[in-house]
């Protein structure tokens, strides 16, 4: 473009109030003109959406660690603050419902910061026509879940949208919790030599949801693992305050969570496939559906990164807790391949385990 033309163009833009000279920003994501489902899958597209569209606009040191919650001090007291929204179809499923998920989800996000969850908020977006009896069921279930987790629901909000503009019920919960002064848990703290422990059998929640959604019937019903993890975290911290990382591997499964930690801490992760605990029914369902359980969601499991000399004690403490009976050591943090996960496969081969690119889709054959 010649310089003359450029001036004209800029003047035009200015006179139209387009703000070219003010540095009007283009949309950071150009490949997608609209939001697609995979933007919410917890994989690469979700990450791209957050990192290019949201984070740069709100940059601050509390947000930057991209932890399950923000950790900060007020008047010398260390606090964790977290929020999560819940949309699930169907809203009632084997082993739980959206209400229980909404309480446990935020309780767990706080627990993963090493916090004792105290107070929660709940906001509902309800669709016109949603059955009152179902709403009552959800509310009662939330009440029970809050009681089990030992948290109080202290504030909330309700909105109703036109029929067809929502899907029965969406719930957002936020929460605050207290952190002991000596506890410092965040993804960037993963250190070379750390042992990685998973608290139990993986992939149950995702398969439970999928089996109802797809109308699939298995010989034994697969139930969601939704549970509040604050008790288990308390048991872990009672053995060792110096836990490096805790995360609950929800959507995207254990690999997406581990890949995030590897990237954040700039360390390599080595996994041993044979040691990853998974129940026979879930394994079978994954085979039938063509899904990789490593990428399937959990709602009541955690991954702990622990110093090698404390790993056995932490593992034993987890196994003593009802939610950690099947806990297992599945890998360790290594110096090589920073930012990536390598896995020794069941038959002795080695491969990279990557974050999911989009949604996991069932394969044709």
């Amino acid at each position: 473009m010649s310089s003359n033309k450029r001036v004209v163009a800029e003047l035009d833009a200015q006179s139209l109030g387009l703000g070219v000279l003010d540095g009007c920003c283009p949309i950071p994501i150009s490949e997608h003109k609209e939001i697609v489902l995979a933007h919410g899958s917890g994989g690469k597209l979700s990450q791209q959406l957050i990192q290019t569209m949201v984070l740069p606009q709100f940059q601050n040191e509390l947000l930057e660690p991209l932890h399950d919650g923000a950790i900060f001090s007020l008047n010398g007291t260390k606090l964790a603050f977290s929020t999560d929204s819940f949309v699930v179809n169907p809203i009632f499923f084997p082993g739980g419902d959206i209400g229980e998920l909404a309480i446990n989800g935020t309780v767990n996000d706080l627990a993963m910061c090493g916090a004792r969850p105290l107070y929660l908020s709940a906001a509902f977006i309800l669709e016109e026509g949603f059955a009152m009896a179902d709403f009552w069921r959800v509310i009662q279930s939330m009440q029970r879940a809050a009681k089990t987790a030992g948290v109080s629901l202290v504030t909330g909000d309700t909105k109703v949208v036109d029929r067809g503009k929502g899907d029965k019920i969406f719930i957002n919960t936020s929460g605050v919790g207290l952190i002991d002064a000596e506890v410092s848990i965040y993804p960037g703290r993963a250190q070379i030599g750390d042992k990685i422990i998973v608290s139990g059998l993986i992939a149950a929640h995702g398969i439970a949801i999928m089996s109802v959604r797809e109308g699939l019937e298995f010989e034994s019903e697969i139930a969601s693992d939704t549970a509040p993890l604050n008790g288990l975290v308390a048991a872990i911290l009672s053995v060792s305050k110096d836990i490096h990382v805790l995360r609950d591997p929800t959507r995207g499964g254990i690999t997406s969570t581990l890949a995030e930690i590897a990237e954040k801490a700039k360390v390599g992760i080595h996994l041993d496939e044979a040691s990853i605990p998974i129940s026979e029914p879930v394994k079978g369902a994954c085979e039938i559906l063509g899904l990789d359980p490593l990428y399937v969601a959990n709602e009541g499991k955690l991954l702990a990164f622990v110093q090698p000399d404390q790993a056995q004690a932490v593992l034993a403490a987890m196994r003593d807790h009802p939610l950690g009976r099947e806990a297992a050591m599945i890998g360790e943090v290594v110096a090589g391949h920073p930012g990536y996960i390598m896995m020794k496969t069941r038959i002795g081969g080695v491969r990279v385990v990557d974050m999911l690119s989009g949604e996991q889709l069932p394969r044709i054959c």
Binding site: E31, H32, E34, I35, V36, L37, A38, K44, L45, E214, L216, G268, H270, A274, E280, K283, G284, E287, L289, G290, V334, A335, G336, H337, Y340, M342, K344, T345, R346, I347, G348, G349, V350, R351, V352, V353, D354, S357, G358, E359, L361, P362, R363, I364, C365
Partner: protein, 379 residues
């Protein structure tokens, strides 16, 4: 789990690899035909367990990958109509056509549903009498019986708002086409286990005779594949070329007669264009004239869409086993599962996508040393 764990056993794997090493005297190039087999090889790192003298190249057996761009654009044109419920196998949803993929069309309001079986579409059609329900009937001989059954049932039950968009492909003509190519490097095949479950393995006997290559019909678990390699190498080392059946727990010589009869009632053989490869004579199925009322291509007036593939993409050479995914300069750079440029990256079962999913765009050493540094591979 029974029937799975015994085929994923490390000790058995090591024994097989040891035996392969023992009988091996020279280098051989083997092709596994199916995308599912490629997936297993890369997922379990089998190629890294095998001696370097054995090179595995990856075949054209990924039905989603080889579905032509023209057909995908037709599917998109049909799926975008407001009077249509478009049903598909899951992994077809992300495959880009000329302008979008089915997931994007869905985000724009198209009614697109994932089904596990085409028979599920009949239920959808019955529940939505004011809509036209279309199933994207792709696949090899493996999915042909179920796809055929859907229209056979629709006709029998008088479900008139159900049709299928057929883009079926057949394995034996594709294998013959690979062997006829002057660029061919393949010396032995791990044959398509599930295709042969339906069709039997007798169809492959003329190929072994004509081109003097061993074909070992092989399963999909790691132990199946290692055993398939062992049997193929054993034949090659002995100068033999015959059809052998590694997948005996599922496959026999004549296949499933009932399924074959159904296929023949509903489909007839036709020429078919393969994405990345081009047209192969008599390499596909189309609906017979009697089923024209359920033929989406006839029912929806879709003009031929002129399409163009990316000039960077070498998927045609990958599908024929001439090149490996990481031989492509665009692999893992311009071309990723999020932005696939061609056939072999579009489906999870495609060779390029499998390589990418299991980290082959990052170079690592063949030894299973966990502390090997990972470096970006230079193009």
């Amino acid at each position: 789990m029974k029937y799975l764990d015994e085929y994923r056993n490390e000790a058995v794997a090591q024994k097989l690899v040891k035996e392969i090493c023992r009988i091996l005297t020279k280098p051989w190039v083997l092709m596994e035909v199916c995308g599912g087999q490629t997936h297993t090889i890369v997922k379990y790192g089998l190629d890294h367990l095998l001696p370097s003298k054995i090179e595995l190249v990856h075949g054209p057996g990924c039905p989603v990958c080889v579905t032509s761009l023209e057909m995908i654009d037709k599917a998109h044109a049909i799926a975008s109509r407001s009077d249509v419920i478009f049903c598909s196998f899951g992994d077809m949803l992300r495959v880009p056509g000329s302008t979008a993929d089915l997931l994007i069309l869905k985000s724009r309001g198209a009614d697109i549903r994932i089904v596990y079986s085409p028979i599920d579409c009949l239920k959808i059609a019955r529940a939505n009498p004011d809509k036209k329900v279309v199933f994207f009937a792709i696949g090899f001989e493996t999915t042909a019986p179920a796809n055929a059954m859907s229209v056979w049932q629709a006709r029998r039950q008088g479900i008139n708002n159900f049709s299928i968009l057929v883009s079926h492909v057949l394995v034996p003509p594709a294998m013959a086409s690979i062997l006829q190519s002057p660029l061919n490097r393949v010396q032995g095949f791990l044959g398509p286990g599930h295709v042969c479950t339906v069709m039997g393995y007798h169809e492959y006997e003329p190929i072994t005779a004509r081109y003097h290559v061993p074909i070992v019909i092989t399963g999909f678990e790691p132990i199946d594949l290692l055993e398939g390699v062992l049997l193929t190498v054993r034949q090659l080392e002995a100068g033999q070329a015959r059809v052998e059946n590694q997948y005996g727990r599922v496959v026999n010589r004549n296949g499933n007669k009932v399924a074959q009869d159904l296929i023949n009632q509903v489909f007839e053989v036709c020429d078919r264009k393969w994405r990345g490869v081009g047209s192969i004579p008599k390499s596909g199925y189309k609906l017979r004239y009697e089923f024209r009322d359920h033929d989406a291509e006839r029912l929806f007036d879709i003009r031929e869409i002129d399409t163009q593939e990316s000039p960077l993409c070498i998927s045609g050479l990958v599908l024929k086993g001439v090149k490996k995914p990481h031989d492509c300069p665009a692999f893992g750079k311009e071309c990723t599962p999020l932005h696939p440029l061609g056939a072999t990256m579009v489906s999870a079962e495609g060779a390029c996508a499998a390589y990418h999913a299991y980290g082959r765009h990052l170079q690592f050493e063949k030894k299973s040393d966990q502390n090997q540094p990972l470096e970006e591979m230079s193009p």
